[in-house]
Amino acid sequence: MHRKTKKVGTASPGRRVLLGQQIISGLASGSLYALTAVAVVVVFRNTRTINLAQGDFAMVGAFLAMVLIKDMHLNYYLALAAVVVACILLGILTERIVMRPIADSDWLTLFTATLGVYYILHGVAGWVWGRDTKAFPVTFDPTPINFAGTIVSQGHLINMGWAIAIGLVLYVFFKYTKQGIAMRAVTDDPDTAQLMGIPVRFIVLLTWGMAGFLAAFAGVLLSPIVYVSPEMMDQVLIKGYVAAVFGGLYSIQGAIIGALMIGVAENLAGGYLGAHYKTATAFAMIVLLLTFRPQGLFGIQKRREI
C-alpha cells in the first residue's frame, strides 16, 4: 500500500565488489540502525513499551531539518540543534499525553498506543509535507576517498563519526551522571528505585526524551541516504527492532553489535547474492535468532516478566 522506501546503504558498483568496501558501508548503515536500536532498547527496558513511533520521531525530525536547511537556509548545525530539541519535545509529549495515562496497562496496550502515535505522525507528515519522496541537501563532498585501496564514501565516514560521538555521549551519560545512573537503576528494579527516592515518572519522561534525542540524529543522518518521506524510517525501524532483540531488548551494547551485524550482513548479501536478498537477510536473522536464542545473542537473561 504505502512503502516505497529506498533501501539504506549505497548500491554496489557492478559485480566486482570489494569486501572491505562492503563491510565499511555495512558498518555505516549499521551505525545508523544502532541509533534506532538503542532508542528501542532504552524505552523498552524502562517502560515495557516497544515504541513503534520511534522511526516517526526521526521522520518528523528529517522533515524539519529539510525545511530549516532548504527553505529557511539555516546553517546545518543550527538546524540539527533545533531538530534535536524538537524531537526531544516530541518524545516527552508522547509520554505525557499518550503513555502516562496507560502506564500500568498490559504490554499490548502500550504497544498499540505507540502504533496510534505512529499513525498520527505519519498522517500529519503526509498532510503537511506530502507523500512523495524528497531529496535532502547533501552537506559533504560526494567524492569518495581511497583508503588503502578501499574506496569509501565521505558520507559514510561522517555518519560513522556522528554515531561514535553519540555513543560516547550516551556512555558518559549512563556511566557518570546522576540521572544516567538513576535511569539504569530504574531499569534494574523500579520499585526499589522508588524506595530510594528516585522519581520514577521523571526518569521515564527522560527516557522518552532520550528516544527523541536519538531519533533526531537518526533522521538527519539517514536523510541523504534514504531521502525524506513519511515512510522513510519504516524499514530502518524494523531493522532497529531486530538489532534490539540481539541484545535481548535489554542490553545497549548488544543492540549496537546487532545493528552493525545487520548492516554488514545485508550489505554482503546484497553484494554477493543480489540486491533482492538485502532486506530479507535481516528478517532471516531475526527468525533464526528468536528460534535458537530467544533471550538475545549475548546471554542476557530476561529480567522482567513481559
Binding site: T192, Q194, L195, M196, G197
Partner: protein
C-alpha cells in the same frame, strides 16, 4: 521525643487487608523492632511509612509532619530511608553507583562524601569492591551494601526490613553490630522488622509483635523476651494443639 507515630493505620495489599489498624510510636534515637510471623503485616507497615503503599485509613506522622499521601521521593527527602527486604541491590550497578543512588535526593556534595566515608568505615569490605557489580556480591556483602545505600540518604529514621534474612548467624551478628554503631555514632533512629526475634530483641530497646495486621503485644525488649505470647505468635499456641493429631 517521638519521631514517628502511626495511629490506626489500615492498608490493603492487593486483595488482602494487610493492616487492620496499627498504632506504633518510635522515639528519636531508639532502636525499635517489629516482630511477628510471616503475613503479620510487618513489611506492609514499612511500605506504608515509605509511601509505597497508600494507607486506606489512619495517620502516619514523622517529626510532626503528616506523611499520608506524600510521594516516596518527598519522604526520603524528609529523612526516612528504607533498606528493603531481600536487600534489592541494583544488580547491574556497581557498589559505588548503588551508594550514589541511595543519595539521589541529596545535593550536598560534601555531606555525601562524608557519609560515603562513614559507610566505608562501617563496612570496609565494600570499599574493596567499589567497582564490582552489585549482583556479584555475596549475601552478607549485599546486606551491607543495602544498609550503606540506606545510610547515604542521611536518614533520621532508617527502616530495615528483615536484615537477617537468609544470612548465617555469624553474619547476622556483624550486621547488628553495625546497626548499633550507626545508632550510636550517627544518632540514627532504627525501626527494624525481624523474624529472628532473638537477635532483634537483643539489640532493640522496644518491640511490637504483630499478628494478622494488628499489634498483639508491645513492650520493652527485655519484657518481650520473657513473654510467652511472642513464641506463640510464631509457633502457635500449644493449647490449640488438636486431639486429631493423636488419631
Amino acid at each position: 521525643m517521638t519521631l514517628l507515630r502511626l495511629a490506626n493505620v489500615e492498608a490493603n495489599y492487593g486483595a488482602v487487608r494487610a493492616l487492620r489498624g496499627i498504632s506504633i510510636s518510635v522515639a528519636e534515637g531508639a532502636i525499635v523492632c517489629l516482630l511477628g510471623a510471616n503475613g503479620a503485616g510487618k513489611s506492609t507497615t514499612l511500605k506504608a511509612i515509605s509511601g509505597v503503599v497508600r494507607p486506606s485509613a489512619g495517620t502516619i506522622e514523622f517529626d510532626g509532619k503528616l506523611l499520608n499521601g506524600m510521594s516516596p521521593t518527598h519522604i526520603v527527602g524528609l529523612g526516612v530511608a528504607q533498606v528493603p527486604e531481600g536487600r534489592k541491590i541494583f544488580k547491574d550497578l556497581t557498589v559505588i553507583e548503588n551508594l550514589q543512588m541511595g543519595a539521589y535526593v541529596r545535593k550536598d556534595a560534601r555531606g555525601i562524601a562524608a557519609d560515603l566515608d562513614f559507610v566505608f568505615h562501617l563496612f570496609p569490605r565494600l570499599k574493596e569492591r567499589t567497582r564490582q557489580l552489585g549482583g556479584t556480591l555475596s549475601g552478607g556483602e549485599q546486606q551491607m551494601l543495602a544498609i550503606g545505600r540506606g545510610l547515604m540518604a542521611k536518614p533520621r529514621l532508617l527502616l530495615l526490613d528483615e536484615p537477617s534474612l537468609g544470612l548465617a548467624p555469624i553474619l547476622i551478628a556483624d550486621i547488628f553490630n553495625a546497626l548499633r554503631q550507626i545508632n550510636k555514632e550517627h544518632g540514627t533512629t532504627l525501626l527494624i522488622v525481624e523474624q529472628n526475634a532473638h537477635v532483634a530483641l537483643k539489640n532493640a530497646n522496644f518491640g511490637y509483635v504483630l499478628q494478622v495486621g494488628q499489634v498483639a503485644v508491645e513492650g520493652s525488649a527485655e519484657e518481650l523476651r520473657r513473654r510467652k505470647e511472642v513464641v506463640e505468635s510464631y509457633l502457635g499456641s500449644s493449647e490449640q494443639t488438636p486431639a486429631r493429631a493423636a488419631s
